[in-house]
Symmetry: C2
Subunit: 356 residues, 2 copies
């Protein structure tokens, strides 16, 4: 693309660096704030840097903390996404504003969402993975949550994997998280009976009193998950939307109804454990003829326009609510990310790098 010669502004670009592969639960010291990095607010020419044909320079506004990212901190190449590179900036979903463009599909000032870096400014060499945000009155940060990957995961998983019917008994774990809160609300709109589990009383309160779940419980206060599920589902579970795997999945298997469906979503966190939990109640798959299906939202991208239309419409009508846990400043990113695994955050964990 032919562009006129300009003098490029150079800024300082704070970054969050991934220090090295980990085992177990991430800690703040696995990441590092790096200062003093100079960054030119202009797409380099192909001579200056390879692969910059059609690239963008963006200013990052909101960054997303998602549980799947823990899998990328491990030296494990068998998953659907490669690990982070030690010493490099962390990657994740974000909302950004285009500063400079060598691409006819984007112009400075456009708001975009997709994979970006945990830094103030990013050079994006493959902008085809970005989606342009059409300006409307919905907060920009929602495009990494309700209207982004987690929201679409909930939408595709619920509608395409769970095969929901009106009146179904649905259970969702990690229910106040970015995915869980939308699964529960979509299920209520579909006419299901919805129970969610979460890890604090505050989250349980939120599920029952703000998100409209029929029931919710604090799994950390239950000594017997099987008994807890029997209490909330005396007739059994038709749909289990699994965001956690492990013992909760095992307990749910025992409580499924005939022809029940289990959508396997968040177990990616188990993947980073060296010793994953065993699942012992598999024979229920036969006796109850259960379908258990793992999925990734990326397999359903053809439904994304319909998702946006539906969820924006529900949101504008006040039929669904959405809860964010907003953290101010790039400096807050390591603590915000680590908070995902301690259950500290309430709602979708987001980092605000800049307002605009």
């Amino acid at each position: 693309m032919e562009r006129k010669e300009e003098v490029a502004v150079v800024v300082e670009n704070k970054q969050i660096i991934f220090k090295g592969y980990i085992e177990g639960i991430p800690t703040e010291s696995d990441m590092e704030l790096k200062l003093g990095n100079k960054f030119k607010l202009k797409v380099p020419s192909e001579e200056e840097e390879e692969g910059c044909n059609g690239a963008l320079v963006v200013k990052n506004l909101y960054l997303s903390c998602d549980p799947y990212m823990r899998g990328r901190m491990r030296h494990f190449f068998g998953s659907y996404i490669p690990p982070f590179v030690p010493g490099s900036v962390i990657e994740g979903f974000g909302v950004s504003k285009v500063v400079d463009s060598d691409n006819p599909n984007f112009k400075p000032g456009d708001f975009v969402t997709g994979m970006t870096g945990w830094e103030e400014y990013s050079l994006i060499k493959k902008p085809e993975q970005l989606r342009k945000i059409q300006p409307n009155d919905i907060p920009l940060s929602y495009y990494v949550g309700l209207l982004g990957m987690p929201g679409f995961t909930a939408y595709a998983g619920f509608h395409e994997v769970c095969a929901p019917k009106k009146g179904d008994y649905l259970f969702v774990s990690a229910a106040s998280g970015a995915v869980g809160q939308l699964v529960g609300q979509l299920a209520k709109l579909h006419g299901c009976y919805v129970v969610g589990s979460a890890g604090t009383d505050q989250k349980v309160d939120l599920l029952k009193n703000k998100l409209g779940f029929d029931e919710a419980f604090n799994y950390k206060k239950e000594t017997d998950l099987d008994a807890a599920l029997k209490r909330f589902f005396p007739k059994g579970i038709d749909i289990y939307f699994d965001n956690v795997g492990g013992p909760m999945l095992d307990a749910a298997l025992t409580n499924m109804r005939i022809h029940g469906r289990i959508a396997i979503c968040g177990m990616v966190s188990e993947q980073s454990l060296s010793n994953p939990c065993g699942i012992y109640n598999m024979f229920n798959l036969i006796s109850k003829r259960i379908r258990m299906q793992g999925f990734l939202q990326s397999d359903f991208l053809h439904l994304y326009p319909q998702f946006l239309e539906d969820v924006i419409s529900y949101y504008k009508q006040g039929k669904i609510v959405y809860i964010e846990d907003m953290n101010e400043g790039l400096e807050s990113a390591p603590a915000a990310f680590v908070g995902l695994y301690s259950g500290k955050n309430v709602g979708k964990q987001v980092i605000c790098v800049a307002r605009e």
Copy 2:
């Protein structure tokens, strides 16, 4: 039904009695041959015995030994079929000949297949569960195997659960068993690449040289099931037809391809274990987007006529072969049944009580 008065013939009726609930693997001493029982070859009147309206008296010709029966030997009511009653005759699938009928749909001389008792003669109070066998040139015993529950399990599981495509890589465990041998052959006819596992070299030979499998291996000779599957499926597995559960299922999960399907069939044997094996590789469900589905043939009965037509036609054209392990005499039943769990039998385990 009005019937003319006749003098009923009374015969001795040998029976195999279930002695009591077990843990672990069945042994011959869990069953007992009972002699001296008198049996009238005529359906009793409703006054003589309740529930005999519309009943049949049948002579049992062939009895089926099926792995699921072990689940009925345990004091466990959470499955799709209740346990046996201690002190009563064992129930199972069989081929029988009608001796006397109080039912307009059956007449003496008809051959039927369905649930009957492990005894020479049975009074069948609910003949609606029986299927009449249309005489043809296929051995009658095949109606408890190739053309019965195991064959239909293979057919429904393969076509309805596995979603097979030409060129798919298919793995089936317990491949020389009643279900496995048909799964493999249907898959070959469908254009799949088929590998089976079995527990003796004789069975492996059978799979490769008689049943037309592409490859087969003796899992008892493999120290590392994961490595064995990688050897036979360097590109991974599209379909795993699971007849065993446990460590083989775990190894298969690691070797599945993206969008692979796992039909869960024979794990019912795990159900009778007090300490089932844990499954540890569940995260593959997400990273490979695997669908894992338990099923029972009884959910697909609408396909039974099509199954019979297809499989009889394949068999008559010589496109599929079928291997039986025939045991002579009701007395052989306990040993034949126990043999299922030692891997002794080669092919479908059947007991011949009488030739006609």
